[in-house]
């Protein structure tokens, strides 16, 4: 049994300790907002927060996340102390700029951005470039940058 703290709730899961956190979240806990994209930490679709840091869950053994505070897209607003039904500021910016197209990569984009802004509230373009290495095939990058700039301006 491995004890996971996900979105504020504690779960005891009976899984192979080597299983990547991604599959525990998606299959054991049903948190399908976390996406499988590449399995090798190259695309960022599976990004979650582990103790506040953006982590690619496809390449993190679940045992390495035991006991840590894990936040997925489903728990992002609550992690910022917002009540159920409200959006996190990054999500609101994403709606305001109408960022998503197909939307598949956007959970990861949003989680990566939220982690970036937490420690760098006014990132430069170079800092945005360095932090946002998530892949988007629809080509939403110009709007991702616009949304982050808008957040930085109001920070």
């Amino acid at each position: 049994m491995i004890t996971l703290k996900v979105n504020g709730a504690t779960h005891a899961v009976d899984v192979d300790p080597e299983m990547p956190l991604l599959w525990v979240l998606r299959e054991t806990l049903g948190l399908t907002g976390v996406k499988y994209g590449c399995g090798v930490a190259a695309c960022g679709a599976c990004t979650v927060h582990v103790d506040g840091a953006a982590v690619r869950a496809c390449s993190l053994p679940v045992s390495a996340a035991a006991g840590a505070a894990i936040v997925t897209i489903e728990g992002l607003p609550a992690s910022a102390g917002l009540p159920a039904g409200e959006l996190h500021p990054v999500q609101r910016a994403w709606v305001a700029v109408q960022v998503p197209q197909c939307g598949y990569c956007q959970s990861g984009m949003i989680m990566t951005t939220a982690a970036l802004l937490k420690h760098t509230s006014k990132p430069t373009d170079a800092e945005i470039d360095a932090a946002i290495t998530n892949l988007c095939r629809c080509g939403t990058y110009p709007r991702v940058r616009r949304a982050i700039r808008a957040l930085a301006e109001t920070a």
């Binding site: 299959e27 996406k35 197209q101 939307g103 598949y104 945005i128 095939r137 080509g139 709007r143």
Partner: protein, 733 residues
């Protein structure tokens, strides 16, 4: 049986093809109503549902893969219906006969096309009613807004508005002319009485719909032309959007699969023991051309699969490489004139008649490309009580249902297809070329194995790369003759044929007296498919690169040279001029940066782009600015339209700069994003500008047309910057 002909009678178009679309018989209408309505709701004409509380639900026959067309189509209907936008919802039309997109059929024919050939194999040549119903629910060819919207949703909305007015008029015993409509409320002006649509829907649903309701004029639009927030966005920022890969069913099993790495190969043998020794692995399933492992979790299935050492046949294709394919293409071009696709005048004679120094010749090549949609191919299937249900994203749900019927041997009543939103597709997941059936067959076989349990089959990213349906690697040779004034008088071209598609991609917009286009067949075993904008990706690159070469050979400015070959007042010329003006064509640029221009019409829209770029020290292109001018007729939702072009530019740049699938020993080399490098945010140009030219031309598509001009505009910019002409893609050092 009472027949309610909706919107259009029977028409006969060239060749005597009868395409009259009989949308509604009472039995079909009843079937549709049974599928989507609950008590207190009325279905009008199959595409719009009005509830007693005034909620308007629009059934969209196109699949969401990020294009925003659900919102745009609902807007077009709501515009004509005159309802409060906050009351409008969209839902995916069920993939059932009752919801076949007859508008799409009508649109194709209205525009003088044959049945689109990317439906080859999915539509019977005779275009029988059955085939029509089963296949016209397709998202592709940039058809949603310009066809389903223009000849479907708007007319549907206007016709529905008309019957609601009639229903109010008869209830009050007045004439419809005495009534006004605002935001879904009908008012009798003289007496001040009013009724909401929700109160009238039930009686309106019983009335016959007009085929030709009056439509609004552009100046009367309230919704069309505005950028209302897209209806699909909220679920896409909270993780709530459920794609095919997110289907969760009780006791569901997971499957990993490996197909013959050499396309066309078969499974020869596999020892299941190593996989079965792994915890949670339940089955090793040998299939005709693949082996699958079913487990209680996907990771366990992957581990099981990795433990196997299957042997596959290779059909003798194990020596094929990309280089050998190119050599094969060059031999084919050496050895054949090809099939004439179009001939105007006598280009061969014209080429002989000019002096040798007036002849320009060049050869171009493009590589295989992968769609690389972020959601890997997957399908979930369950056999239970003799019935099969399959969940998957697919661009053509009706064709998908028919394919599932064919593969399973079950009848329409025993097959349910649940179309899921797509995490990208770009042509990958659709009925054409057997691209979908290939993995549907796997999912169906696996579901039989674990019946009555459901099973979700997910292709690993590596499998997704290895088993794609690629934009073809192809090559071309061109020759042109220049007149005394430097303008081209002859254009002669032979090219290796691409994928079956509408034969519009090779056209050149320029006034050249003698033209010849010849397609040369050169087959191989690598699986091909439609990739965003299909054959325009390669034809656009070489046509717009070669015309640039001609301009330079003539010593003329590439913009002016093109412009002077386009008719004054034509859409193409106006778009080209707009792009040049917005990009300040001719103004000074910093040293090392060059400007390139390209102009391509595809799917009814004309797009010109100007790119400013430099060649980095290591030979890598650095793109500073992209300016696009687009004439797609009118624009329904400007923000979504802009986003489609932005996205197409990013995808086009990615392909032009960085993407290439290569073949070694008959198999695809690239297996993940680590060796098939997509453009990243850091490499996306800081300035991407999209300008729409509103014309009174027919509405064009927008999902694809923004892509083809990117590669040639960039190659032309690099020539302007460096003097080097790039004739092979990608533009990598």
């Amino acid at each position: 049986m009472k027949r309610r002909t909706l919107l259009i009678g029977t028409a006969v178009v060239g060749g005597g093809l009868v395409i009259g679309y009989r949308a509604w018989t009472d039995s079909v209408a009843a079937q549709a109503a049974a599928l989507v309505t609950r008590p207190g709701e009325s279905l009008i004409g199959g595409w719009v549902k009005i509830a007693a509380d005034d909620t308007v639900t629009v059934y969209v026959p196109h699949i969401d893969m990020g294009q925003g067309t659900h919102t745009a189509l609902a807007m077009m209907l709501a515009e004509e219906l005159d309802v409060d936008w906050s009351k409008v919802r969209t839902e995916q039309a069920p993939p059932e006969k009752a919801f076949a997109n007859g508008f799409l059929a009508k649109g194709w024919i209205m525009q003088g096309w044959r049945v689109p050939s990317f439906l080859d194999g999915a539509v019977d040549a005779t275009f029988t009613e059955a085939a029509r119903f089963l296949n016209l629910q397709l998202t592709g060819g940039s058809t949603a807004v310009r066809i389903t919207g223009q000849v479907g949703m708007r007319i549907m909305g206007a016709a529905a508005r008309q019957v609601l007015l009639q229903a109010a008029a008869s209830r009050w015993e007045v004439t419809p002319r005495e009534l006004t409509v605002a935001a879904g409320v009908i008012t009798h002006v003289r007496t001040g009485r009013s009724l909401r649509y929700g109160e009238l829907a039930a009686s309106a649903a019983a009335l016959d719909l007009s085929s030709h309701p009056p439509l609004k004029l552009r100046q009367d639009y309230r919704l069309i032309g505005t950028s209302v927030p897209r209806l699909d966005i909220p679920a896409k920022v909270t993780g709530a959007q459920t794609y095919g890969i997110d289907v969760r069913l009780p006791d569901m099993r997971y499957a990993a699969v490996m197909s013959a790495p050499v396309h066309g190969g078969k499974l020869v043998e596999v020892d299941p023991a190593p996989a079965l020794a792994i915890k949670d692995v339940e089955h090793v399933v040998p299939l005709e051309s693949a082996v699958a492992v079913i487990a209680r979790g996907y990771w366990q299935a992957r581990r099981g699969l990795a433990a196997l050492r299957p042997r596959f046949s290779d059909g003798g294709n194990d020596t094929v490489t990309s280089a050998r394919l190119d050599a094969q293409f060059q031999r084919a071009l050496d050895g054949s004139d090809g099939a004439v696709r179009r001939k105007i005048g006598d280009p061969a004679q014209a080429l002989k008649d000019v002096a040798r120094e007036k002849v320009v010749a060049a050869a171009y090549r493009v590589p295989f490309l992968h769609h690389a949609a972020m959601e890997p191919v997957n399908a979930t299937a369950q056999f239970k009580d003799g019935k099969l249900t399959l969940w998957a994203g697919d661009q053509a749900p009706l064709a998908a249902k028919r394919e599932i019927m064919r593969l399973s041997g079950l009848s329409a009543d025993d097959v349910t297809f649940m179309p899921m939103p797509l995490g990208g597709s770009f042509g990958r997941r659709g009925g054409a070329n057997g691209a979908t059936g290939f993995y549907f067959a796997q999912a169906i076989a696996l579901a039989r194995k674990v019946a009555p349990l459901p099973v979700q089959m997910i292709w690993s990213r590596e499998e997704d790369f290895a088993q794609g349906t690629y934009r073809p690697q192809v090559a071309t040779r061109l020759q042109a003759a220049l007149g005394a004034d430097g303008k081209p008088i002859a254009w002669s071209q032979a090219y290796i044929d691409g994928v079956p598609s509408r034969v519009e991609s090779f056209h050149i917009p320029y006034a050249i007296a003698h033209q010849s286009f010849r397609a040369v067949d050169s087959r191989h075993h690598v699986r091909l498919g439609s990739w965003r904008s299909v054959n325009h990706t390669q034809h656009g690159f070489w046509i717009e690169s070669f015309i640039d070469e001609l301009a330079h050979a003539a010593g003329r400015d590439p913009f002016v040279y093109r412009r002077d070959l386009l008719p004054v007042g034509s859409r193409a010329r106006i778009v080209l001029e707009t792009a040049a003006a917005k990009a300040n064509w001719g103004s000074a640029l910093p040293a090392g940066i060059g400007r390139g221009i390209a102009l391509i019409e595809s799917y009814g829209s004309v797009v010109a782009q100007v790119i400013e770029a430099a060649l980095g020290a290591d030979g890598t292109p650095i793109v500073h600015r992209v300016v696009a001018a687009v004439d797609c007729g009118d624009v329904c939702h400007p923000d979504t339209a802009t986003q489609q072009v932005e996205g197409a530019i990013v995808m086009g740049l990615s392909a032009a700069i960085a993407e290439r699938i290569t073949i070694e020993r008959g198999v695809v080399v690239q297996r993940n994003f680590t060796d098939y490098r997509l453009l990243t945010l850091a490499r996306t140009p800081p300035r991407i500008e999209v300008h729409f030219v509103r014309s009174d031309g027919a509405w064009g598509g927008l999902g694809e047309p923004g892509l083809p001009p990117v590669a040639p505009a960039l190659a032309n910019a690099l020539f302007a910057a460096s003097g080097r002409r790039f004739r092979d893609l990608p533009l990598m050092p």
